[in-house]
Structure formats: C-alpha cells, structure tokens
Subunit: 356 residues, 2 copies
C-alpha cells in the first residue's frame, strides 16, 4: 500500500510522553497489518510560542496541509495563560481547525469494561453509555466578528454568532450518516426559543431529515440537554450541535463515564484528512513523570486509522487491545483504585502492543 | 405593617395547582407572623396567547409593575411550541425580565435531607451540595441584535452577544455580596479564551474582587465548569456567569441533586421588586391530576418573603416546614420510592401549613 504521511504534534505538558506510546502502537500496526507510516514532527502550542513566538508556526501549518492526517497530543499550560490571545497555545488548535477546514468534531463517550465505577454517576445510570457528540467546529461564535468599544460610560464587548445554511447542512448531514451506522437516533441540540441561528439550524435539520427516514430525530434545547445527559445518559446515541454548545456538552459528556483519560476525538474536513487528539488537556502538573495515561492518545490514533486511512481492521485491533488491558485491571494513576494494577505511561503502551 | 402587593401569574399546565398551595402557605404566613398580602391574578403564557393573543398582555405587565413582587408558576406546553416567536409562552418570561429590569437570577441547589439517593450521582458525591448560581438575566445573546439574511447561496442567521461593563459590574457585585453572606467562595464562569465579552467579564470580576478581599475568587472556563459540576459539585459555593452560560449551567446544576421539583428561583432587579418561580416547567402531561409537586413553588414564595419583603423569619419558617415534610418521608409522585409516603399536591401543601 501507499505510505501514509502523519504530522506529529506532541505539544506541551504530558503531550510528548503520551505521543510516544501512540507512535509505538502505530509501529506495531505497520508490522501486523503491512501498513506504512511516515511520521514528521512539528512544533505547536506553548513550546512553539517560547521557541518561535507563534503557537502555530507557518512550517507546522504547511506540514499539516501536506500530510494525510495530523496527530496532536495536547497544548497549553499555566505558563501561557496570561498571554495575549494571539500568543496563546490554543490558537494552534483554532488555526488548524480553520486552515484545514475541519468542521466536524467527533467525540465518542463510552463506558469501558472494568470502569463501571469510575464515574461520579451511579453504575446503573452509566451502564450502556455509548454516545457520540458531533460538534460543528469552524463556525459560530468562535469565528464571528469580535469587538471592544470604549463608550462614554464604559467599555462594551461584542461577539457574533453567524451560521450559513451550508455550514449547518454539511455537519448535520455528516451526523445523520454517522447515526445511520449506529443506533439510528439523532438528537439535535439548539436554543431555538432564543437564537435566530438555532431556528435556522432546526429548519435545516428538519429538511435534511427527509433524506434519512430510517433515522429517528429529536430536537432538544441546550439547557434541557445539559440536564438529560445527567439524568439518562444511556438513552443518547448521536448528538449534533453548533460549536459553543458542542464545546460545553461534549465536556459534560466526557465526564459522565469518569474516564476522561480514555476519550479520543477526531476533527474531520471534506476529504479524508483529519486531526486526532485526546479530549483531556496537557496536565502540566504531572508532565515528565511517566505517569500520564496514554490511552486517549492511542485511541485517537485508532480513530485516525479508521477515518483518515480506512484501516478498519487495524483500528479495531488497537481499540480491542486497549479495552483488554483495561479489562485486565491495568490502570494508570488517574484511574487507579483498590484491586487494580498500577502501571506507568510506558508500561501501559507496552501492554497495548502486547495485547495486539 | 404595610400590605404587600403580589402579582400572581399561575400560567399553564400544573401552574394553577401548585400556585394554589403556595398561596395557602402565604395565608398561613399572614396568620402566624402578622404580615398582610394582597393577591392580584394576571394572565401570562400560553393561556394568555389563547385568550388575548399575547403571552404577556399589557394589563399583566402593568399589574406586575405596580406590585411589590411577582409570583409565577410555569408557562408553556407543546400546544404553543410551533408558534412564531412573539406568540410563544416564554415571551412572557423574557418580557417580564426585561421590563422589570430583573438582571439577577438566583438559583440555589441544595441536597435535602431524605433525598440523598434521588440523584443519578452517587450519594457520597452529592453529599453537602449547597450551591447558588447567579445568572445575568437581561443581557448577552438573549437580547442582542438578531438577523436572518437571504444570500445568493442560501440563508444566513446572526445573533449578537453584547455586554456593557456596567451590566457586568452590577451582577458581579451582587454575586460578591451574596458570597460574602455564605461560604465566601465565588466561581466566575466565562469563555475568555474565545470570547471578547468574556475577556471584559473577567477583567470586571478582577477589578470588583479588590473590594471583596474576604471572598476567594476563581475563574473557570464554561466547558471545564460543565465537567467540574459533575465531578465535585459539593466544592462550589456561588457561581456567577452570563445569561446563556447561566441558562445551561443552572439547569445542569438543578439536575445534580435529582430533585428539580424542589428548586425555587428568584429574579431580582435594582430595588426590592422581584419575580419568583420554580425551576421546573409546566409539566402539561400531569396537569389537572392533583399529583404535581408544589414544593418548588412554595420555596419560591419563601424566597419572595426574604428578598422582596425582608421577612426573614417567615421565609425560614416556610423553608423549614418544607424540609420537615420531606424529612418525614412525604413525597409527591415525582420523588416517590420505596419507603416513602405518597401524597398529592393539595395534601403536600396542607402538610407544609401544618408543619409551620
Ligand atoms: C482550547 C479551546 C479553545 C477548545 C475549544 O473551546 O474549542 C477546547 O475547549 C476544545 O474543546 O477543544
Ligand atoms: C424558557 C426560556 C426562554 C428560559 C431561558 O432560556 O432563559 C428558561 O430556559 C429559563 O432558564 O428560565
């Protein structure tokens, strides 16, 4: 087969450590399945601010554009928290999303075997949780016009939430396609009783729904959804929503199963290209100690195998290996507890490779 | 003492039934504490749309303006869900908030004795939950300019999030005052890494904080807050945030203790006037059956006694009576379970009156 070019952005904090384990797993995939990867490293985030004064250097951006997929570990840290907006690590994320047109953010949340008790929710409530948030990622209030004015009686700040029908339609269609391949239930979340953009959103969902009569659709207001996720999380299948609501709800969702260290994400554009990163952050407090959980990074690599390369068999093998290691009771510090076997970052990666 | 004028808006669904119990309790307050109330009824919500084609008739609005406080039960229902925006029941709420300048929405969430197990969260996680969301209620994206355009290549919708320093300062100051009377911890929630309005918000919080050195302040991003509320709800004391974030987070918060049927809210303006309503909705599915839980409505009346009339003793008496009835095991259908004593709406109200 062809050599797949992967842009590797380890980023800040625990980023480099967990990335190493994901690459170890991908090398095993090369051995086992005859695939070939070419890894090229790039700078992004706080480290890039420190070294070249730009969270997303031109070089990194063009590397990503020329690659078949981007693997990103994590960016950010308190060191850069008070930087002006353009010198903040998360600009790397926002810049990549916009430049690569990665409009569809996929965030699965599933309950892993052996982790029924990791959640702050009752085991009987999280039992069977297997949902996917599909978040619009390149529009809305994130990218609308911003303004700060000094009026006579004080300052005023403005942000603008804009959606074009086209932007709504492509993410909604993607969500319907995905729902069709799952349990065929789609929850569209908006605030149509207040926002004009939500009313447009809802009308597009209703129109596109006609092309997917096999998928059951419901509209839920964002405030109600924030409640229902806690009340009956297992009832949800696919949730589709706009950028800011998706930011909030996908983080809420990530916390439901209590295993945020295990959750991957994919950000996809029109073609096969995509960016893959764990849901968790750069955890600067434990960086360099070899105790970080590399599972979400490894599972992000598995999503890349599936969504950008179409290597379904390899993706499933990686996912099953991670599940097996967890089901066998191996735990990094974040998930450790009575009756579990404590392991470090590297050992967890080795166990996954072995299990494959 | 003076006669306090109360505008009574029973609204839709279970509204009239639960309002009746609150009025029963207030009459008991008159007897026991020598206060005097004058109740004047007004139309609002879906019923008002049906009868006079306006969810907030001019008459109702002027009644509210001339009253010392407004008691509202609940508005809305599926019947009006597809109405155009200006004929929807919730316009009554939005109109009252704006016209009476009720910029501060207070939503307490506490764990009631005897209800440790009502939540979908583990009892040890909700133990000790006692938090208050202070939500800005008359600004932000709710009231900014809205626009729908037909461009050559399709429709585009725009909403605008605007905050003036003054609007931020008054709600933030109020939250600091409230925190000072509680556990002295204030969590300000924003999305300062993305929104200009959040950066203004954060700078105002930091400036006002200097006047409250005894209150401990933290800034938390809205997505992170949505997570932390599930992870460690008992750590929060007062949360202050803008309108839309407050809408989402206060509903999430309401679900934490599993007893949304017990949660009151207050919407306050500059003086003593205020609007008091339960957090739950109009529950049209159980309307007229005499099974609705009147506790949140009764507790909303207690908040009115405290915040609009300064009747602290009476407010506490009502609250303690509700707590006692619950602690004794009496439950309306929404909270019924093994080992509890099932009661209807009216009986619950009677029990509260007795307990006083
Ligand atoms: C870091 C931040 C800009 C980003 C976002 O808000 O999109 C993050 O919260 C996420 O969800 O990926
Ligand atoms: C009914 C709706 C307009 C309202 C809001 O969004 O403010 C409600 O959700 C609330 O929180 O009071």
């Amino acid at each position: 087969g062809t050599v797949k070019k992967i842009a590797v952005l380890p980023g800040d904090g625990i980023g480099p450590e967990i990335m190493e384990e994901a690459l170890k797993v991908l090398r095993k995939v090369e051995d086992l399945f005859g695939h070939s990867f070419q890894f090229t490293f790039g700078m992004a985030g706080g480290g890039a601010v420190d070294r070249v004064g730009n969270p997303l250097p031109e070089e990194t951006l063009s590397l990503c554009k020329q690659s078949d997929a981007v693997l990103l570990a994590a960016v950010g840290g308190p060191k850069w928290d008070n930087n002006p907006p353009e010198l903040r690590p998360e600009q790397a994320l926002l810049g990549l999303r916009k430049s690569l047109n990665l409009y569809a953010n996929l965030r699965p949340a599933v309950l892993f075997e052996g982790l029924e008790n990791a959640s702050t929710l009752k085991p009987e409530v999280v039992k069977g949780v297997d949902l996917l948030v599909v978040r619009e990622l390149t529009g809305g209030i994130y990218f609308g016009e911003k303004k700060r004015e000094r009026l006579e009686d004080g300052q005023q700040a403005t942000d603008t939430l804009v959606y074009h029908e086209r932007e709504v339609e492509r993410i909604v269609r993607r969500a319907f396609e995905i729902a069709r391949g799952r349990r065929k239930k789609l929850t569209s979340v908006d605030k149509a009783n207040i926002l004009e953009s939500s009313r447009l959103w809802r009308s597009v969902v209703d129109r596109v729904a006609r092309d997917y009569p096999d998928v059951q659709v419901e509209h839920v207001l964002v405030d109600n959804c924030a409640m229902q996720l806690i009340r009956r999380p297992a009832d949800f299948d696919v949730i589709v929503t706009e950028n800011m609501f998706g930011d909030i709800l996908s983080d809420e969702t990530a916390m439901l199963t209590g295993s945020i260290g295990l959750l991957p994400s994919a950000s996809l554009g029109e073609g096969m290209t995509g960016l893959y990163e764990p849901v968790h952050g750069s955890a600067p407090d434990i960086a360099g100690q070899g105790v970080a959980n590399p599972a979400a990074m490894i599972l992000s690599a598995a999503m890349m195998l599936r969504h950008s390369f179409g290597y379904e068999e390899a993706a499933t093998a990686v996912e099953q290996a991670v599940r097996k290691v967890l089901a066998d009771g191996h735990r990094t510090a974040d998930l450790a507890g009575p009756g579990t076997l404590a392991v470090g970052t590297e050992e967890f990666g080795d166990l996954v490779v072995e299990a494959m």
